[in-house]
Point group: C2
Chain length 405, copies 2
């Protein structure tokens, strides 16, 4: 919904519901809504929230509001919000919630069933109960489906899974997401270094994370800094796209200077000016295909260290074939058009070499970025295009200078 | 894992486990494994599977094997496999499984608890029981957390949720995925037109679907036909990338012919050859940013019909600002380099016009593709680049011919 209509609607929403809505909308939309509220409204909206929700929201609220809200919480809640805020966005600790139902291992299932009935309601996504000892150390988990099918006379310790999948708050969230997929989890315990239960991950947050991950991959490949509300203000959008356009401008300028080196050659054979973008363009397209593949494979953790070399060989082979085949097609066309078979030959060789360059850099850029601990998708498309442009012009015009003049 | 090692390892796996493994691996890997097995091995692997798993796999098995397998199933199972196979890959019917526990509404929770205990095991991701009447018509769902916290003396009909979220087998799977996210579902009933319960969707399949969707979006934007096993054979990879490279070749050739129109202009002012890729390149980059944004917004269903015009205006405004600002920067540089202020002026105007073209087509291409019922991401990147290349050359060289000669 466009900004003006959105804010008009927002004014009509009853204050009690503000909090729920803020938690549901996308980051970009939330920001516009929060910007529209004064501290008083924000306080009213946030006061209804529990520690989980507050922790999710706190980083986007003004400092004053957060401090005031913290004063209203009890000690345990305050501790939870504080601990959740202490982790990076991409860590398990920032994602965990506190909707845990804990039981002891030395009671019977009958006792557990009676205990649950007293609770009146279980937290969302409760598919297992957490078995802890008196110090809060996790001893196992009791899936509630197992609780339902087992003899109520049994002890918890006999029925529980004693070696469940656990996470640590400083683990990377995307690894947790992969584990959720691999083991088909709905919820899982988060424990500290001493195996003490401190929180829980649940599938709803994991699903959000998977969406966000794939979104940020797509955006960063295209050189967008962050998620953009499609009805964001023009000014905001300009800033979001600014950075990579500037990078692109520099790389395009470099490519232009490469062409500038060959002014004399082009002056003597102007057909080169028309043909050079073909060499550069196909290289860019092919390089983008390679880099997209590899960034995906990295995101899915399919690429081990030892495999890079083998992968490089394969990508080079694919490029060699594509270069020879499509290079020959376009080389033949160029021969026919300009009646110069040497020009056709230079096209074939230049296309092949540029595709090999694209394959090489398409593997090297993301693997190097990853080794440096950076996001391998980051502007990948802009970078590979820069290389295949400058490289393509250099190879094609260089070969032309050597063989055609 | 590279193909040779993968198949060597595959040979070492015990036959009983083949089926489970086939179900877990990615589509591209599965294909290589199935290709390596003879009919006899496939039969042995698939015979252990239930109807769900078989339905997932059947479309990839040889016809003979499927027929033979069907003979081994009982009537209900056969019916289920057949019905699952009758839906398109992107429909709910192809995704549903049959791990449903059904109960009647006129019994007490105590009876339900005793019934469950007799089952020994519940299907994975059972977070609710399905309440049906004697004709199999869905009356409601009983979340098992509610079963646990309610008084066992209550009737099912008093405790159940009588208007649950339901899906139909011919609904689009990606809409179901959005509903799962919106309502934080773990499982949900699938009913036919008469409200008869025919299957169940569960979150594990939805998570897989979300992954696949975002994957195919990334791949198709880059012009890759399908998921590619990163260690696929060179030949397979060539075929996967062939189609869009060929399209790209045609579009690059068109751009080349556009330049060819201005041979005389370039011969008289060779600086144009060096500057024209800047205009085209920045346009391509900016167009890719726009189209990426819009394809994402469409995938998340944020783009209504009435909004297209407003969105277009915004994108045009962003491009106007970027064009004037960055165009001026590069125009000033061109002036400095070539000592020709008119050349600088042509750069500013050409950059701005090409960015406006990029914004216009970046909105129009995906919205039109969607209106035509096509995948809006399909080769989006190749198409927008084609337009900003040809358009950029035409605009820049055309203006240069008019004002510089």
């Amino acid at each position: 919904m466009p900004l003006r209509e959105r804010l008009a609607l927002w004014q009509l929403v009853r204050t009690e519901r503000d909090g729920d809505i803020l938690l549901e909308v996308s980051d970009a939309v939330r920001e516009t809504l929060i910007a529209d509220m004064d501290d008083h409204e924000l306080l009213a909206a946030a006061r209804e929230m529990n520690a989980d929700d507050l922790a999710d929201l706190a980083s986007e609220l003004p400092g004053d509001v957060v401090r005031e809200l913290m004063d209203h919480l009890d000690a345990q809640q305050r501790e939870r919000v504080r601990s959740a805020l202490s982790y990076e966005d991409d860590q398990v600790g920032a994602l965990m919630n506190f909707g845990m139902v804990t039981i002891r291992e030395d009671v019977t299932l009958e006792v557990v069933l009676r205990y649950l009935r007293r609770l009146k309601e279980l937290p969302g996504h409760t598919d297992k109960l957490f078995v802890v000892d008196y110090d809060g150390v996790l001893k196992g988990v009791l899936p509630i489906t197992r609780l339902l099918v087992s003899d109520p006379e049994n002890q918890v310790s006999e029925v529980m899974a004693s070696e469940p999948v656990v996470f640590h708050p400083d683990e990377e969230a995307c690894e947790a997401a992969q584990a959720f997929e691999r083991y088909d989890l709905v919820s899982a315990p988060v424990v500290d270094r001493n195996s003490k239960l401190i929180g829980r991950l649940s599938i709803d947050e994991i699903v959000d994370l998977i969406r966000e991950e794939s979104e940020s991959e797509v955006l960063s490949m295209a050189g967008l800094r962050e998620e953009e509300d499609i009805f964001a203000s023009v000014w905001r959008s300009v800033r979001n796209r600014w950075a990579w356009l500037a990078v692109n401008l520099v790389t395009a300028f470099i490519a232009s200077r490469v062409i500038g080196l060959f002014n004399d050659t082009i002056e003597r054979l102007v057909a080169l000016a028309a043909l050079m973008p073909i060499v550069a363009g196909i290289g860019g397209n092919s390089g983008n295909q390679t880099i997209t593949m590899i960034v995906r494979a990295m995101a899915l953790d399919q690429l081990g260290q030892g495999n890079t070399w083998r992968l490089l060989r394969k990508e080079l082979a694919v490029s060699l074939i594509n270069g020879l085949v499509w290079g020959s097609v376009i080389g033949a066309v160029a021969w026919g058009l300009y009646g110069n078979w040497k020009l056709g030959g230079v096209m074939v060789v230049a296309m092949t070499l540029n595709l090999l360059l694209a394959a090489f850099m398409g593997v090297v850029i993301p693997t190097t970025l990853e080794k440096l601990g950076r996001d391998p998708a980051m502007g990948a498309s802009v970078m590979i295009t820069a290389i295949t442009d400058s490289g393509g012009f250099l190879i094609f015009l260089g070969l032309a200078t050597l063989f055609l003049l």
